[in-house]
Amino acid sequence: MTPTPSDLPEAAKRRLSQGAFTSGLSVSDFAACLEMGLEPLGLVQGFCAMQWTTFGSFGRGVTPFAGSSSGYVENYQCPHGMISSEHRMWGQNYEQTWIENSWRDGFNSAYSRMLEEAGTLGAHGVVGLIDSEGPLSDVGVVEFHLSGTAVRVLDAPAPHHVWSTYLAGQRLAKIFEAGYAPVSVVSSVASVRVLSSCITEYLMGGTGAMWSVNAETTEIEQIVSAQNESRAIARSFVRAQLHGDALHGASMTGLTREFAQGDLEIQSRLSGNRIRRFKDFDPLTAPRPTVRLS
C-alpha cells in the first residue's frame, strides 16, 4: 500500500496500533457511515510545517521580471512618456509559480502523511476531511494540517488507492446514491503578483482623474486582469487534477495582500471533492416542501 519509506513519527505508529476505533465524525455522521457500511477505523492526520517567507518577492526591479517559462505574465507600459524617478515607467502582473509550488508541496506532504496513517490502519478511504493552514507561533512558519476519519468498506476488497473526501454523513450517502464515487480531495492556490503601472497606481490611489480628462471612474484593468487570471489559474490547476472526473462542493476564496504601495499579491484558493460517476443518474422524485410548526 505504501511504497515510500514511512516518515510517520513514532507516536503516530503507537497510537494507530491500538485496538479501538476513533472517529472525528459527529454522531449523525457516524450513524450515516454505519448505515452505508463504512466501518470507522481511526482519526488520521498529517502535518507539514514549512518555512514560509515571501522571498522571491524581490519587489520591483529596475526592469520588468522576465517571467517563468510557464506562468502568466502581462506587462503594462507607461503611456505618458515621462522619465522621472517618481513616475512608474512600467507595470507588471506575473504568476508566482514558486509560491504555488511550495503551497502544493506543503499540502501534498500533509496529505500523503494522512493517507499513510490511513494505510497503516488498512483503510479504504478517508471521510470528513478537514484542512487548515496557518502561521505557527513563530514568524515565517506555516503549518499545513489535514485530518479525517479513516474507514473500511465492509465486505469489499481494498482498493488500489485510498480515496478521500471532505464529505461525511448523509451528504456522502447521497453522493453514492446519486451515482458518484469519491476519488480524492483536490486543492490549489494561484498567486499573482501585481507591480502597478503608473495608471494603476494613480487609480488605486484615487488620483486617476489627474491623468485623464473625463473619466471620473474607470475600471482598473491591471487589477481586474490579475483577479480574473488568478481565479482562472486556480481552476486550471484543479481541472488538471480531475482527469475527466467531476468537482463537487467546491469553494473558491480570494485573498489580497499589500506588501508596499503599488506592490500586491492576489491569491485564489480553490478546493473541493473529485468524484467519479459509476452509474447513470437516477433522478429522485421532487422533494416534499415542508413548513416547520414552531
Binding site: L8, P9, E10, A11, A12, R14, R15, Q18, G19, A20, F21, T22, S23, G24, L25, S26, V27, S28, F30, A31, L34, E35, P40, L43, Q45, F47, C48, A49, M50, Q51, W52, T53, F55, G56, W98, I99, S102, D105, G106, S109, L136, S137, D138, V139, G140, V141, E143, S147, Q170, L284, T285, P287, R288, P289, T290, V291, R292, S294
Partner: protein
C-alpha cells in the same frame, strides 16, 4: 444513600436530596428531553463538578521542543477531579449516566496560575430499571446532545464515558540566524512537523488509553482543541476529547431519511 467516601460539599448533598423526591432539573431543551424519553431514559438532575487547581510552573528551554509533563499532569488531573465529582453527584442520584457534558476552564483575577475546571451535564436514568453503568461501575458520561444520544442509540451503540487526553507542549523558538533563512526557499521544517505531530499524537493516544480502560469499542465525535491558556504563544495545550462507545445491540433502527425541502428560513 450517603456514600461515606464522597467528598461533595454540604450544599450539594442538600440539593441532591431534594432531587431524589422526584423533581428533576436539567439544561436540556424540550426537544432533547423528548428524545431522551424516546430511547427510554429519564432525566434525574443537573449535575456538576468543579476543581480549582494551581498549575505549577515548568522551565522551558528556549530552543527545544518538548512536552511539559508537569503542566500536562496538572491539566489532566484537574479535569479528572471535576469529572469525578460530577460522576459522584450523578451516582448519588442513582443515575446511569450523564449526557450533554461540557468541560470548561475559567481563570479568575484572584488566582494567579490557578484555574477552575468545571464539568456540568444532565444525569439520566434508564426507565426499565436495568443498570446502564459502565464497566467500571460508574455512571457513563458523554458530551452528546439529546439529539446525538438518540441517534447513537438507533445505531445500537451505548456511550461509556467522556474520554480525554492532553499534552502541553513547548514549541522551540527559532534563532535569528535560522529565521533569516538558510536557503531562501519555502521548505519544510522537519523538526517542527515532528514536534507538532508528536504532541497531538500523544494527546490522542492518552485519550484512546482511557477508552481502552472502559472496554470501549470506539470513540465518536473526537475533537482536537489547541489552546495557549496563559502561557504565551509557544506553549500549547493539545486536548483530545470524545465519547467512548460500545456496541450493545446489532440492531440498526435508523429510518431511511425522507427528502424534504424546508420552507422555513
Amino acid at each position: 444513600m450517603s456514600n461515606p467516601t464522597n467528598d461533595l460539599p454540604q450544599a450539594t448533598e442538600h440539593r441532591l436530596e431534594e432531587l431524589e423526591k422526584g423533581l428533576f432539573t436539567s439544561d436540556l431543551s424540550v426537544n432533547e428531553f423528548l428524545l431522551i424519553k424516546e430511547v427510554g431514559f429519564h432525566p434525574v438532575g443537573f449535575v456538576m463538578g468543579s476543581s480549582i487547581y494551581h498549575t505549577g510552573i515548568q522551565t522551558r528551554k528556549w530552543s527545544q521542543s518538548q512536552e511539559l509533563t508537569k503542566l500536562t499532569e496538572a491539566m489532566y488531573n484537574a479535569r479528572e477531579l471535576a469529572m469525578n465529582r460530577m460522576e459522584e453527584e450523578a451516582a448519588e442520584l442513582g443515575a446511569d449516566g450523564v449526557v450533554g457534558v461540557r468541560l470548561d476552564v475559567n481563570y479568575y483575577e484572584w488566582g494567579k496560575d490557578a484555574a477552575e475546571f468545571i464539568a456540568v451535564g444532565t444525569a439520566v436514568k434508564a426507565e426499565d430499571g436495568v443498570s446502564r453503568l459502565n464497566q467500571l461501575g460508574k455512571p457513563f458520561t458523554s458530551d452528546l446532545s439529546g439529539q446525538d444520544f438518540w441517534t447513537l442509540r438507533q445505531t445500537g451503540y451505548m456511550p461509556q464515558g467522556l474520554v480525554m487526553g492532553t499534552c502541553v507542549y513547548h514549541i522551540a523558538h527559532r534563532g535569528i540566524g535560522q529565521t533569516l533563512g538558510t536557503t531562501g526557499q519555502n521548505v519544510e521544517l522537519p523538526n517542527f512537523t515532528q514536534a507538532l505531530y508528536e504532541a497531538r499524537e500523544l494527546a490522542m493516544t492518552r485519550m484512546q488509553d482511557e477508552a481502552a480502560r472502559l472496554g470501549a469499542s470506539g470513540i465518536v465525535g473526537v475533537r482536537l482543541e489547541e489552546k495557549s491558556h496563559q502561557w504565551g504563544s509557544h506553549t500549547i495545550e493539545f486536548l483530545a476529547l470524545g465519547t467512548a462507545v460500545t456496541k450493545t445491540s446489532e440492531e440498526m433502527t435508523l429510518a431511511k431519511p425522507t427528502t424534504i425541502i424546508s420552507l422555513d428560513n
